[in-house]
């Protein structure tokens, strides 16, 4: 953003509606990665909160990120209210899985020279989302924010209201859990069958 002067159009209802409309696909995509059943509801609450807080938005260019942060806060507050006990995976269990090695050992596409890429390419975007939704919530949120939405780990720590070290550990375990769930999902959904690949 450096070099771009901060624009600040009047904080009218029309301006907020324009911002919201432009950001809807992105907000909904984020919400659908965080929650299975409440994405629409989550976006609506975020938009309401955003509308009320709209006069506080500093620069127009920050509007998209600002709405994303509001949505993440809404989500975090809801999860907290449910007092869902955050389950940490046993360390050894989470740390020692390697998807790369599992693919080598199981060799799902024996006639291929690019077996690892074939494996990844067998996942549609919807498959990836389903894998994410299988992860425990405490791992899913850092993973989605860091690796899909491009938030810095420090920002994620602030949003999760957790120390940076904790977030880094959860990110690490989250990635491992994601790898393992990818394999399980591929087995369950039959993604490993040769005929599913494009000829």
């Amino acid at each position: 953003m450096s070099g771009t002067p901060a624009r600040r159009t009047p904080r009218t209802k029309d301006a907020f509606q324009a911002l919201a409309r432009a950001q809807l696909p992105r907000l909904l995509a984020l919400a659908r990665r965080l929650t299975r059943d409440e994405a629409e509801d989550l976006v609506q609450e975020a938009l309401l909160r955003g509308y009320l807080a709209y006069p506080e938005l500093e620069a127009d260019q920050a509007g998209g990120r600002w709405l994303q942060v509001i949505l993440v806060n809404v989500y975090r507050d809801r999860e907290r209210k449910r007092a869902r006990s955050a389950e940490e995976l046993p360390v050894a269990d989470a740390d020692n899985f390697s998807l790369y090695r599992t693919i080598v050992e199981e060799d799902p596409f024996p006639y291929s020279d690019t077996v690892h890429l074939d494996f990844l390419h067998s996942f549609t975007k919807e498959d990836v989302r389903q894998v994410l939704l299988r992860l425990p919530e405490i791992y899913r949120m850092p993973l989605v924010l860091c690796h899909m939405e491009g938030f810095a780990t420090k920002e994620v720590a602030r949003l999760c209201q957790a120390p940076l070290g904790t977030v880094l550990a959860r990110l690490h375990r989250g990635r491992k859990a994601f790898e393992r769930e990818m394999w399980t999902y591929a087995e369950e959904m039959g993604l490993l069958k040769e005929h599913r690949r494009t000829p």
Binding site: R26, A29, S98, V104, K125, M148
Partner: protein, 81 residues
């Protein structure tokens, strides 16, 4: 004249840090050890490539799978604010 060298780190230790290595967020000492390991370990180089592809897969999840019906409903919601 060779300096006494520390032994190479084992594969598990290298692999554990590969994501952070790709993001250049491991401490310089560890970064050097991993680089040294990668120079002689083909399997971990394979892991490294895979980590890069996996990161790419996550980062490439755009919004085009969002159901249009939901977008329509939310647009309606925005109009009625």
């Amino acid at each position: 004249m060779t300096e006494p060298r520390e032994p190479l780190i084992p594969c598990d230790q290298a692999v554990r840090q590969l994501w952070a290595y790709v993001e250049a967020s491991v401490p310089p000492v560890d970064h050097a050890k991993i680089t040294e390991h990668l120079a002689i370990c083909q399997r971990c180089c394979g892991e490294l490539e895979f980590v890069k592809h996996l990161r790419g897969l996550l980062a490439a999840q755009t919004t085009d799978e969002v159901p249009p019906e939901l977008i329509r409903q939310l647009n309606q919601f925005v109009e009625e604010l």
